[in-house]
Symmetry: C2
Subunit: 545 residues, 2 copies
Amino acid sequence: MRSRAERRRNWWGWGYDDAAMTDEQVASLGRAVADRLGTEVTPAPAPRLEDVSLPACRIDPPAALAPLCRDDDRDRALHTYGRSYRDVVRGFRREHPHPPDLVAHPENEADVVALLDWCGSSGYAALPFGGGSSVVGGVEAVGLRERYAGVVSVDLTALDRVLEIDRVSRAARIQGGALGPVLEDQLRPEGLTLRHFPQSFEVSTLGGWLATRSGGHFATLYTHIDDLVESMRVVTPTGISESRRLPGSGAGPSPDRLFLGSEGSLGIITEAWMRLQDRPRWRGSAGVRFDSFAAGSEAVRALSQSGLFPTNCRLLDAGEALVNAGVADVVDGGALCVLGFESADHPVGPWLERALELVADYGGTVPEGEVRLRDDGAAGAGSGGARGGAEGAWRGAFVRAPYTRDGLVRCGVIVETFETACTWDRFPALHASVTEAVEAALAEVCGGGWVTCRFTHAYPDGCAPYFSVLAPGRPGDELAQWAEIKAAAAEALLAAGGTITHHHAVGRDHDPWYRRQRPEVFGRALAAAKRELDPAGILNPDVVI
Amino acid sequence: MRSRAERRRNWWGWGYDDAAMTDEQVASLGRAVADRLGTEVTPAPAPRLEDVSLPACRIDPPAALAPLCRDDDRDRALHTYGRSYRDVVRGFRREHPHPPDLVAHPENEADVVALLDWCGSSGYAALPFGGGSSVVGGVEAVGLRERYAGVVSVDLTALDRVLEIDRVSRAARIQGGALGPVLEDQLRPEGLTLRHFPQSFEVSTLGGWLATRSGGHFATLYTHIDDLVESMRVVTPTGISESRRLPGSGAGPSPDRLFLGSEGSLGIITEAWMRLQDRPRWRGSAGVRFDSFAAGSEAVRALSQSGLFPTNCRLLDAGEALVNAGVADVVDGGALCVLGFESADHPVGPWLERALELVADYGGTVPEGEVRLRDDGAAGAGSGGARGGAEGAWRGAFVRAPYTRDGLVRCGVIVETFETACTWDRFPALHASVTEAVEAALAEVCGGGWVTCRFTHAYPDGCAPYFSVLAPGRPGDELAQWAEIKAAAAEALLAAGGTITHHHAVGRDHDPWYRRQRPEVFGRALAAAKRELDPAGILNPDVVI
């Protein structure tokens, strides 16, 4: 179990060194992309750590904390950025003007308290760092070296234990720094699972998921991690907040909901009691084809409003279906719905059957052999046997995508994803205006490019569209080009009634639009809470609050 | 539709005058209760308004607001209290030492803003008042006449319109003062329903539900009103907060969750976009008998963890089954599970069938003819045809219960309900210790009494037990006796790991225990938010914050 943690993290790109694309893979990727974008692509070598030059560390930890702190180049470079496209480009370019002075690795909650005390009394900024997979600029120190005498990145991944399991209530007390695979490994022997699988699963932590309101495995119902929380323990500079472990409550505003989404600006989540699932035994899936994305989205709306609660219900446009599910028979302008049900309690046949009736009402068809029902048997529940068809292909591509992105960065290609949520009545106009705005921006700043769309989550009252962008970059100008595309997308989303983020979080990248979206009154309430809990303003400054 | 609003409200007891128990009904109730408690019961006549003497109104509204304000005895007496047992006893006794000076009846949001401006600039307390059905002392002015030069009860029931319906997303924009039947009447022509049916449905408002995190119709899944909110509009003394209409979001901490549960202490909810349901067409129900409450609760746990999401899943002990569902064949110490499924999309046979298999694993049995499956047909969906069996009986008794309680007050009987939620692992010990503590208190302060228990809601990780108490009162001492019973129950709940309230709210009655339950750090954050949004401290002082 611990062996995962000992795999070496990539200091500039996604995930682990041993999973990065090889030079040969990047070269092959470059040829494929050159074909699709109609440009020339010349892959560059991966950056070398010895070519990185970092500003000196300015601070010394007190003797008691020194054993927890590191100032070597590798750790500081690794903790300089999250892992957005922009971060990877900057890492790839070996641009590290604002690394943390130190990286602290607390081993327990007392260490976290001591670190915040030290930072608070010294006027140092403290940046909570989970798996470091932020794609919104949520964990960096840009602008902070100038305002704080020291900047400490607080890496929480040593707080990685499942401390207690309540089998009867299907819940566990888990430390905030546990990475996805690390916590799942500890739950598996009990036949339990959190079943929260964001794309960053391998390199993100429970505390990070909670702090950013992460979106996971379930396409309907329990979409956000928020709904899986029983209670949280949060270290703030002025005390520890621990909520009561409850299945539901109506006693005043929810304490947990203040910290969910606070992105490290109010406190550090050291533990949470999380609601778990039994490992599923029965599964059903189908890849449903539609002639138009509009028809597919109407079908997904009907499914979302049916009370069937499919586990998977992703709608992919033709481009996404090809790249991410290996499905080539979706007509141009059409869509693929990757539909799945799972249960630990009962065969899902009746659920899938009704779902297929429903989608047929909207013109959805399933090729012969593409409806799958499976029973893993009591012994095999959750054994993780390979999924077939569109669903299986989709999952494989999903987890690999960020590694591929690093390869694209080496090819000089601009690659960005952005996501939102809106009510069903607004979706057709949002889809049209966002696509148009981004295509216009791509034409202007890149001379063209590729935009695709899928749904990551669906609700009775709306959906969560997710857009992917691929465009040729001009060497050296990629980040300026990226910024123009990003701004065009964000403006269009906000104007069309969407949210600036459904599950990627706010960080620095979404901040200008978040401020416009957030009720001014609520913003003042949050700022007042921050002043009370973090009077010295040391926790993740400039983020959210 | 408006005719309901014109029915005359009972100024001292529950609901409407025309639905109150008659003298004959109270006499008959008295004989039944005397039999059960083994005491003598002599019903007293209902109080007369002309015997009430109120402290004078101390303030004059400005000319612009005068048409909205009333100071007649009936309105001030009606708005002096909520409708807890303690409130009804005080009303029945004609004890009204702290009525509001005035009752304001704003007709639109601008009126609400103007009223708060006036109160703020004059140093008057403003008490938001929806349907006035608080059972926790949430809407009264005790202790406020001494500290504020004026106290204004702000009755919001004139803001009662459904302003907009989005049929595609199944959502509606509804004013905060709409009573349950008033808003359902406006949704029915569209075939839609909020399906939030707390026991107070007739005399509680959308804004009140939101402000108190009300629990409703659905026994599983969408238990609290919280989950049905798309966005809210809240008038605070320093501005209006309006959140964006979204099916889901991850952009910072949820603005709505700060106001949900704030019980009028941060602002007045004037509008909300609410998620609706299609009116159900297919229904299935069964009354499942268990030999022990423990076996029944294990079965409900299995149901809650099955992913079947029954609409109704109430577990009643033998006493509750007899009184509230008219089911007399539950063995002493046994339990009845009132199980129900409903859907607007599909026949619920497979769901009910699997649920009955599950409960059978725990010894649950259903008498012949007690399993019902119904299809109302497309035209009849939601026509409200009578439900049969235990479920139908349970519903009828549920709505009438608070009227019966007023009759019991006239009989000098102490009647109280309290509720909580806890994780499954803690439930057996909580049930035992709470029952024991309350029975001991009843023996000591009343010489005996009756405690029964049911589940109102069930979750994958826990349940929401609801206790009812019936005991003979000593004339004149009832409230002191009640307070001792209440304190014994609250102490036992908290010690056993429950919440002081799952859906009744905090108000003044639960405040001492709420303060102990709430994380101190979060309490400070809330207080800071209150100082920012309501710097003069005029909104529902002493409640929650």
